[in-house]
């Protein structure tokens, strides 16, 4: 290799040059299609009144409810989802493929169907809800708990699949060595497996939170629309649209900001570093 080539390997030369128009044009069109609506949102935003709109009682209430419920849904997903991922990846479940498909289903299901399904189970006349009401006087639908359940239902799969994938990609021999050192399966999970898949747990939790925060269909079906208890940000935005589009845009900006933050967290180094220091 000569100095004139600047250390470039021969293979790289063939890859440079202009991309073919057939790919360039639709590719750029897709990029513009994704970016323009968000740009419009930013342009139309009532920047001067933004703080005022967001700080009003009902909006702050919806934002606070959304953050609270999405955080709770994420925590519930972590507590239940990591063990489920372990069962899928390591548990030698009979019909593991079917179980994995079942876990994926809420991801591809229209959220409103999820809401109807939750009502069929936990509604006042639901399969379980009927008894909960009759025996314990517990009614779940149209409460803040219902919001958390709806959010968990749609977001849990994100966490499970993320952790399941990491576990299946993990070299089993580390767990084998741990066993030869006398560690029980639980100790191995806690001290070897979990720290090794921590980045995937973090990434899954962030995706889970983002999905829970945006949840609309299942929430409005199963939890309804009561200010302070079940009216989350997405529902508040939808309602605001009917009365004051400016307010809807302002609220949307807040969710865009939170989503952008989530994206930064997802890509930032501390998330991957988190996995290596635990």
């Amino acid at each position: 290799m000569t100095a004139a080539q600047g250390g470039r390997r021969p293979g790289q030369r063939a890859r440079s040059g202009r991309p073919p128009l057939v790919l360039l044009v639709p590719g750029l069109a897709a990029l513009i299609f994704l970016a323009l609506p968000l740009l419009a949102l930013l342009v139309r935003a009532p920047w001067s009144d933004l703080v005022e709109i967001v700080a009003t009682g009902p909006v702050a209430q919806a934002l606070w409810l959304s953050l609270r419920t999405a955080t709770t849904a994420t925590l519930v997903s972590l507590v239940l989802g990591v063990p489920l991922a372990w069962l899928l990846a390591r548990g030698r479940l009979p019909g593991g493929g079917v179980v994995r498909a079942l876990v994926t289903l809420p991801m591809v299901l229209p959220p409103v169907v999820g809401g109807v399904a939750l009502l069929s189970l936990l509604g006042r006349r639901g399969l379980l809800g009927e008894h909960l009401d009759a025996w314990f006087g517990i009614t779940i639908p149209f409460t803040t708990s219902a919001v958390v359940l709806a959010q968990t239902f749609v977001s849990l799969p994100f966490l499970v699949l993320s952790v399941d994938g990491a576990l299946r990609g993990l070299d089993r021999r580390y767990e084998d060595v741990s066993a030869t050192l006398g560690a029980s399966r639980w100790t191995t999970f806690r001290r070897v497996t979990l720290p090794m898949v921590a980045p995937a747990v973090g990434a899954g939790a962030v995706l889970c939170f983002a999905r829970a925060l945006g949840e609309f269909g299942a929430t409005i079906t199963f939890a309804g629309n009561f200010p302070g208890t079940t009216r989350t940000m997405p529902i508040a935005i939808y309602l605001a649209m009917e009365q004051s589009p400016q307010a809807a845009i302002a609220l949307s900006i807040v969710l865009v900001a939170i989503s952008a933050l989530v994206l930064i967290l997802l890509r930032s180094r501390w998330l991957t570093a988190l996995g290596s220091t635990t």
Partner: protein, 225 residues
Amino acid sequence: MSGAAGRGPAGRATATGALEVRDAVVRRGEFEVTVDLTVAPGEVLALTGPNGTGKSSVLAALAGLLPLDGGTIALGGEMFDGDTAWVPPETRGVGLVPQQHLLFGHLSSLENVAFGLRARGMRRREARAEAHAWLERLGLADRAHLRADRLSGGQSQRVALARALAASPRLVLLDEPFAALDVRVRDDVRALVADALRELAIPAVLVTHDAGEVETLATRELSLR
């Protein structure tokens, strides 16, 4: 390095006995090998033979990571693997030094070595002191608090040795343990391991390609074909 000899757990008497393997059928996929061997406490059996003859698979079977397809494995009269018996790896007390070290990268060298002691319920402070003695012995005291994934190949291999030996195994399995070591430290570490094995007085199985290693470390050789 030698000044630290005699410290740490090496002097502790470990209750053990001979490793007895009878007509053990080790199968992994299409591949199958049958072995029959006895290793007395204090003896080092060298397992040699070309690549692909199943040396590592035999070690996996001894450690309890690969159930036998037939035959028996017993240690000190305790049946590990047989028609009616099965002892899982975590209760066998068999130390394994894998070829690729397989250190827990997120833990420090010290925590790696203390891992087995902690897993068996030793208190944190004691386990760390004992682990430290092992690292000192292998010339790695200054690397004790370094994360294991930051160690060089040779250092990793020594930590892997310390991790297996610190757990007071009743049998130790070494899968080409010196292959990754620098020539300059190889002889030193080999001598240290020979010392430690003598002190522990447990049976050992060593997989190697190195005729010199068979000469210096092993008491006997079994060649797989």
